[in-house]
């Protein structure tokens, strides 16, 4: 294995990690801040991909505009779902269980609605103009769109870090992660915050879906494959922890990438292997965030 191949596999892993992170970050955000486990997060990813397809292929919009449309659209759907449905079960006994069931029902409903609107054909997008080619760095040829995604991922991490550490909203978000009730006593509109955070989280899912659309294909049910991988990411990183999601995605992406290069026969089991090892030694994930309620 020569050094340029290792560098190449590393970049492949980074690319995979970035997309994983973009999806998982929304999942972990709403869990961390709102203590809601959104099982339907993958469906918002799928919705984002379909909305981007709608904007590009049907309305002939510019790709980046379509990404915006997809994020905002998924965010609005998310806020509606929170406002109309999820909100009604906060504070109920066994809330966690009912959350999972309710968001599970979202998966079923969204899958069929997507089928009604867009049919069952596979949909995909062309790469945006200017990013269809290949870039050369250090003698390695990398598709420029892949590099762009890695770059966007880094920008998101930096923005998230700034927001979480430097702004009032970030502090509110972190405070909420510690104690949902306490926010109310600080004079913050808790229900509104929840709706907005849920909207941001689902918008991030939609954003990831739109960005992935030129690389993948979507069809009804595409959300499920994504949610399981994201789940592994957040389990490894620590549920509700933003940096955990980042680290989890990175580990998963790189482990997979090098597993493919070294043990292609068994590559598909490595994600689960990493997860099980994490669970055995650190059941709360690598970044054990918030007070985990251990009975």
């Amino acid at each position: 294995m020569d050094i340029s191949f290792i560098a190449m596999q590393f970049l492949s892993g980074l690319m995979m990690a970035t997309l994983l992170f973009l999806v998982a970050s929304g999942l972990t955000l709403i869990f961390g801040v709102g203590n809601v486990f959104n099982f339907a997060h993958g469906s918002f990813y799928m919705l984002g991909a379909y909305l981007a397809y709608q904007a590009v292929s049907v309305w002939h919009a510019n790709f980046w505009l379509s990404v915006l449309v997809a994020s905002v659209g998924a965010g609005i759907f998310g806020m509606l779902a929170e406002f109309l449905f999820l909100r009604r079960i906060y504070g109920r006994a066994e809330e966690g269980g009912f959350q999972i069931l309710l968001t599970y029902s979202f998966i079923l409903v969204i899958d069929d609605l997507v089928k009604l609107v867009w049919g069952t054909e596979y949909k995909s997008l062309p790469r945006p103009t200017g990013l269809t080619g290949t870039a050369e760095i250090f003698g390695l040829s990398i598709p420029s769109y892949n590099l762009a995604i890695i770059g966007i991922g880094l920008v998101i991490v930096v923005i998230a870090w700034l927001v979480l550490s430097r702004t009032r909203s970030g502090r509110i978000a972190r405070a909420a992660a510690l104690d949902r009730e306490m926010l109310g006593s600080l004079g913050i509109n808790v229900p509104l915050t929840m709706t907005v955070v849920f909207g941001i989280a689902t918008a991030m899912g939609g954003f990831a879906g739109a960005l992935a659309a030129p690389l993948r294909s979507v069809s009804p049910g595409a959300g499920i494959e994504v949610i399981i991988d994201s789940l592994i990411v957040v389990v490894i990183g620590g549920m509700g922890n933003f940096w955990g999601a980042w680290l989890g995605a990175l580990i998963l992406g790189e482990v997979n990438s090098f597993a493919v290069a070294t043990f292609p026969e068994w590559a598909s089991l490595f994600s689960y292997l990493v997860m099980v090892l994490t669970l055995i030694f650190k059941p709360e994930g690598i970044f054990a965030s918030r007070k985990i309620r251990r009975i």
Binding site: F37, R92, G97, Y104, S105, V235, M239, V276, I295
Partner: protein, 319 residues
């Protein structure tokens, strides 16, 4: 109070024995027998699952792991060593499920709430991936077909009554557990685990016990199901299988002992009716689930009892 509880049980058992006992005489076709057989098996699975969720408050999204384990034990044994080992294979599946659930349980019960749910889901998916991937041994995505019980059990009616008796025993046993001191402790764990610790009880030990018991019956359900559909597939391990049993419990009512059985009945009949008439079954199941969670969290049985209690003198209680 005590007496009315007894009465309710009698009503259920009476209806249960009469309805399910007479299916082989009233059926119009083999299909009805098969439908009734699946209701029995899923009903048992759902009641056992609810000992975890409804009673102890542990939402496992990974009971498919044990269901699949039971089914694959039977499938692989019958495929490799012949159908005469059908019954011992069910036993093997159950034993494997007990061993696995102890090992997995020790890992997952360290966490509670949503963390617990996600971990069980992760382990279920791990089992699915292994079954799917290890095709030399499990047949992979092709599954295993033609798994028939041998001897008298080959006859569908005999097999039906065999399942019928086992399910009666299983539900009777679980009913006893629910009414036993341990059942009381489990309900208390759901409501206030801290206080249970201050009663001098080990919370996790009790959670592990019910996790193992519930998994035992999940594996039994999986093993029995092979005799009905004669084929198995990695999807039995997939999270949607766990989702289905949860849906049954919630639909019937997680606060009611027999609720999940009713839920299983309703779901299987809905699937049969809806599936035959529209391809939009997932929309319909999704809407039903949404309505149940938002509007009728106590489930069909719970809501009916709630209504009755409203019009009847005396107070209603949960459980």
């Amino acid at each position: 109070m005590k007496k009315s509880l007894f009465n309710k049980d009698i009503i259920f058992w009476g209806l249960f024995v009469v309805v399910f006992g007479s299916v082989p005489f009233l059926k119009q076709s083999d299909y009805h027998l098969m439908l009734a057989n699946s209701i029995l098996i899923w009903g048992m699975f759902a009641v056992a699952f609810n000992m975890l969720f409804g009673v102890t408050g542990m939402l496992s999204f990974g009971q498919a792991l044990y269901y699949g384990l039971g089914a694959y034990s039977v499938g692989l044994v019958v495929k490799n060593y012949g159908p005469s080992l059908f019954l011992p294979a069910i036993g093997l599946g159950v034993v494997l499920a007990v061993i696995t659930s102890i090992l997995v349980g020790l890992l997952v019960i360290r966490l509670s709430g949503v963390y617990f749910t996600v971990l069980t889901l992760a382990f279920g998916q791990l089992a699915w991936q292994i079954t799917f991937r290890w095709y030399h041994f499990t047949g992979g995505d092709d599954g295993i077909q033609g798994i028939m019980p041998s001897g008298v059990l080959e006859n569908h009616t005999v097999y039906y009554y065999f399942t019928f008796v086992l399910v009666i025993l299983a539900i009777w046993f679980l009913r006893r557990v629910a009414n036993s001191p341990m059942g009381l402790v489990l309900r208390c764990i759901r409501q206030n685990p801290e206080r249970v610790r201050f009663l001098g009880r080990r919370v996790r030990r009790n959670q592990l016990r019910i996790y193992v018991i519930s998994s035992f019956f999940a594996a039994l359900a999986g093993g029995l199901m092979t005799g009905v559909t004669n084929s198995i597939h990695p999807d039995m391990f997939y999270w949607t299988t766990s989702g289905e049993v949860i849906l049954m419990a919630v639909l019937g009512g997680i606060g009611q002992f027999f609720g999940p059985f009713i839920g299983a009945t309703v779901i299987i009949i809905i699937q049969d009716v809806v599936g035959a008439r529209t391809e939009y079954w997932s929309l319909i199941i999704g809407l039903i689930m949404m309505v149940m969670v938002l509007g009728m969290p106590r489930g069909l049985v719970g809501e009916i009892r709630g209504l009755k209690a409203r019009f009847a003198p005396g107070r209603m209680s949960r459980g």
